[in-house]
Symmetry: C2
Subunit: 483 residues, 2 copies
C-alpha cells in the first residue's frame, strides 16, 4: 500500500473510531436485536456503550454499536445467527476485568453482556464436587453461595471476574499453584458458535471427572478469548473447604533471596496453596491503601491448606527454607480476620498501585517462565525498572513462575511511553528466550498480539487461524483479537 | 443405498480387507518412502504389517500397506507431505497398547512407528520438574531414567505405553485421582500436521507451568487419537518422588460396600494417590496369575503418598471409612517389595484375566460417571453380568468414577457376542444417562464411534468434523476413527 493510501486508511479508521461514539447500526438492526432480548435489554446509549468499550487495560476505548443483555442461551443463539448473516461483530462481555483489551469492540458491533441476567447458579452436586453455573456468575458470588456446602471454587484471579470471562482467558491467580487454572477445572461448557449453534463441549450433560470422547472442545474454547464462541454455561470442579488454613508473611532483604526461597519451596515438593511475591514498592502501596504496617521490603505471602498437622508441618518446612535465605522473620496469620486482611491486600495490589498514582494510567505485564529462570528474570526486571526510571511495582504468582509488573503511565508523555515500551518488550523477549511465555494468565487480547510470532513462529499461528476461519468464517466473534 | 448395493459394497470392503494382506502401494511409492527413511526402515513384510494391524482390542486386524520407522521429525514431515499430496492414509503407531482399535489401519496406508528410533529422553530439567521426550519413549523407560533425579512421571495406564500414544488418547490410569490425566500434565508438544508442517503447540520451546498465549493447541492434539497430527516430542510435568508410600488392601463383603467406601473417601477430601476396585473374580484371576493369596471378595487397593505423618493420618482416615462400610480387615503393605507386587498384580489384571480364559478373546469397557453415581451403576453392572452369564471381571479407577469390565468372548459364538453387545450398550447408555461418558480413558477409536451422537448430540460432532476437515482436508491422518 502506498503511504498516501495508508494515511488515508488510517484517517478513515480514526474517523470510524470517533463515529463509533454513536451507534452506526441502522434502525432495523437495532429493532431486530430488541425484538430478541426486549427493548429494555438493548442499549445504544453512550454511557452504556462506553462502559463496554474497555477493560482494566490502557488500550483505547472502542465502543460497541449496541449492548444487549440476554436472558438465555437461545437469545444469544438468535443474536449470533443474525450477526453472522449480516457480518456484524459480536463481543462477549462479562465483568470487564480483563487486562489485555479483550472486550474492547475495536470493530464495533454488538457487545453481549451476560452479567445482568445470565448469572444463576444452576446446580451444585455436593457429593460430586461439581456445579453448573451461568457464565455471568462471578467467582465471589459462587463462593458465597457455596459457603454452607463445605465446598469452594479456588480459582482466584483477584478481581471478581465472571466465570465465563475466566474461561475465555483461562484465568488463574493466587491459588493456581495448588489447584491449577481454568483449563484444569472446567468439566463441560455450553457455548454458542458463530452461526448460532449451541453445543455442550463434553457431551450433553456430561460432568464426569475424566472424559476422552472426541476432541477436547472444552479446552479449545477455554483461552480462546471470545473468538470461537460465546460461553453460556460452565460445569466446574469444586473442592472441599480446607480444614485448616494458615497464612504467613515473610519479609526478605532483597528480591533475589525472596525468589530463591520460592524456588526452593517449590522444589521441596510442598503442596503449598499460595505463594505470592510483592516487592517493597508494592508493600508500600498496600500499606497506604489498606492501612497496614508491613515491613517495606521484598516479601512473600504464603498459605497452607490441610489438616492441622499437615499445615503445621508444611509451614515449618517453608519457614526453614525462608530463614536459610535471610528471611528476617516469619509472621504467622492464624486469625481468620488477619488472614483475610492479608489476602485482601494482595488482591487489592492493583487498586493500591493505581491509588498512589492518581491521574495516571496503569498497565500490567504478565510473563511466566520456568521456575528456575525466575531469579534471573526478576533481578533483571528490577534493574531495568530502576535504569528506565519507571513507576513500577512487582507482584507475582511466583510458585508458577508467573509475575506481573504494574507500571504507572501518562499516555500523553511520549518519552515515558517509549521507556515503557522498551521495558515491556525487553521483559517479554527475556521470558520467551528462557522458554517462558508472553502471557501466563491475562491472555493475548490486543496487547500481546505482536509477540505471538516471536513465541510460536509462523506455523502454529496459521494453525490457530485455520481453526478460527473454519469455526467463524465471517470473523464475527471478537474480531481483531489474538491474531 | 439398496440392499443389493449395500451387499456389493460390503463384499468389496471384505475383499479390500483381504487384499490388504499384501501391500497395495505401488513400487514407486514404496521407493519414495524408503528414500526418506532408508530402505531398512521401511517394511511391507506381512509379519511387520500384521504387528501394526491391531492393538489390544477385539477389532479386526487391519493392515497398513507399509510400516515406516522414522528417525526424526523431518522425516515424518516429508512422509506426511507425500501422503497428503497422494491422499494416502498415515497412522501414528507407538506401543500398540490401545483398547479401541485406534491404530488399526482400516483404510490401509502408512503406519508411522516412532518406537524404534524416536525414543530418546531429550532433556530433564530437574529444577523445573519437567522434561522433553521423543514421543516413542515409554512411561517405564522415562521413570527408569528419572530414578536418580528424585522425580517421576506418575501417569500410569498400566501398559508400558509410549508417551505419544498416551497423549493421543489422553491416557490416565491408577494415579489420575491424584495427578490428573495427560491433559493436565503436558506443557508443550511438537507435532506434524497433515500437510507436513511442524508446530510446537505452546510456543517454540515454551515449558512454563502456565501459558495462555493463543488457542490451546496442546489440548486439541491430546485426545485427538492421531487424527489431527503425528506427535513427535512432548514436554511433560514431573513430580517429586513421594517421601513415603503406603499401600493397603481392603476386602469387602460386596461391591456396594467397597464402592460406598470409595465415595466417602473421595468426599472426605483425602489426597489419596490411588484407589482401585477389583471384584472377586478379578482377585481370583490375579491370585492364579500372580501367585497371590488375597481374599476372593470385592476389594479396594489404596495408596497414600507424602511425608510419614501425612500418610499415616490419611491411611487412618481411609481405614475408618472402610471399616464403617464392613471392610473385613485393612491390610497394610509397607514393605516396598510387597507394595510393588500388589500394584504389579493390579496392572496385570488384563493379562491375568486373559490367561484364565485361554483361546478366547477379551475386550474392555471404559465408562466414567460422576462419583455419586458409581454405586448404582456398579451394582447394576454386576447384576447384568450375572443375568447375561458373561465371563467378566470388574476393575476400576473408582476414585475418578472410571471403571472397566473385561469380558472374555469367543467371536465365532454369535449368541455370546449378542449378549456382550446388549450388555455393553446398556452399560454405556446407563453411564451417559447419569451424566458420565462412554470413555474415561481408552478413547473413541473404532469401538465407541456409535455412542458419540448419543453423548454429544449432532452439533458438537459436526464442530469436531469442521476442525478435522480444516486441519486435514484430505482426511489422511488416521482416517475412519472417532467420527
Amino acid at each position: 500500500m502506498s503511504s498516501f493510501l495508508l494515511k488515508t486508511a488510517k484517517n478513515i479508521t480514526k474517523n470510524l473510531t470517533s463515529i463509533r461514539k454513536y451507534s452506526s447500526l441502522n434502525a432495523s438492526t437495532i429493532e431486530y436485536l430488541s425484538s430478541i432480548v426486549g427493548s429494555s435489554n438493548c442499549s445504544v446509549s453512550e454511557a452504556i456503550r462506553t462502559h463496554h468499550s474497555k477493560d482494566e487495560s490502557l488500550h483505547e476505548e472502542a465502543h460497541p454499536d449496541i449492548v444487549v443483555f440476554p436472558e438465555k442461551t437461545e437469545q444469544i443463539s438468535k443474536i449470533l445467527q443474525f450477526c453472522n448473516k449480516n457480518k456484524i461483530p459480536a463481543i462477549p462481555y462479562g465483568a470487564g476485568s480483563g487486562f489485555e483489551g479483550g472486550i474492547n469492540a475495536i470493530k464495533g458491533g454488538v457487545s453481549i453482556d451476560t452479567s445482568k441476567y445470565m448469572n444463576n447458579i444452576l446446580e451444585v452436586n455436593v457429593e460430586d464436587f461439581d456445579c453448573w453455573v451461568d457464565s455471568g456468575v462471578t467467582r465471589k458470588q459462587l463462593n458465597n453461595y457455596l459457603k454452607d456446602t463445605g465446598l469452594w471454587f479456588p480459582i482466584d484471579p483477584g478481581a471478581d471476574a465472571c466465570i465465563g470471562g475466566m474461561c475465555s482467558t483461562s484465568a488463574s491467580g493466587t491459588n493456581a499453584v495448588r489447584f491449577g487454572t481454568m483449563r484444569e477445572n472446567v468439566l463441560n461448557l455450553e457455548c454458542v458458535l458463530a452461526d448460532g449453534t449451541v453445543i455442550n463441549t463434553a457431551g450433553l450433560k456430561a460432568r464426569s471427572r475424566k472424559n476422552v470422547a472426541g476432541y477436547n472442545l472444552t479446552n479449545l474454547m477455554i483461552g480462546s478469548e471470545g473468538t470461537l464462541s460465546v460461553i453460556t454455561k460452565v460445569a466446574l470442579k469444586l473442592f472441599p473447604q480446607p480444614e485448616t488454613i494458615l497464612s504467613a508473611v515473610a519479609p526478605f532483604p532483597d528480591v533475589a533471596s525472596a525468589v530463591q526461597s520460592t524456588v526452593e519451596i517449590m522444589q521441596s515438593g510442598l503442596a503449598i496453596a499460595r505463594i505470592e511475591f510483592l516487592d517493597e514498592k508494592s508493600i508500600q502501596a498496600n500499606n497506604i491503601y489498606n492501612k497496614m504496617s508491613l515491613d517495606e521490603t521484598p516479601t512473600l505471602f504464603l498459605e497452607f491448606h490441610g489438616s492441622k498437622g499437615t499445615v503445621d508441618q508444611q509451614a515449618e518446612t517453608a519457614m526453614e527454607i525462608c530463614k536459610e535465605n535471610q528471611c528476617k522473620e516469619f509472621n504467622w496469620a492464624t486469625d481468620p480476620e488477619e488472614r483475610i486482611k492479608l489476602w485482601h491486600a494482595r488482591h487489592n495490589s492493583w487498586f493500591a498501585f493505581k491509588s498512589i498514582h492518581p491521574n495516571r494510567k496503569a498497565i500490567s505485564t504478565d510473563v511466566c517462565v520456568p521456575i528456575s529462570k525466575l531469579p534471573e528474570i526478576l533481578v533483571q526486571t528490577k534493574k531495568d525498572i530502576e535504569e528506565l526510571n519507571l513507576k513500577t511495582v512487582i507482584v507475582g504468582h511466583v510458585g508458577d513462575g508467573n509475575f506481573h509488573t504494574f507500571i504507572s503511565l501518562d499516555p500523553t508523555d511520549k518519552e515515558e511511553m517509549n521507556r515503557y515500551h522498551a521495558y515491556s518488550e525487553k521483559l517479554v523477549r527475556h521470558a520467551i528466550k528462557v522458554e517462558g511465555t508472553c502471557t501466563g494468565e491475562h491472555g493475548i487480547g490486543l496487547g500481546k498480539m505482536k509477540y505471538m510470532e516471536e513465541q510460536f513462529g509462523k506455523s502454529p499461528i496459521e494453525t490457530m487461524r485455520i481453526i478460527k476461519r473454519a469455526l467463524d468464517p465471517n470473523n464475527i466473534l471478537n474480531p481483531g483479537k489474538i491474531f
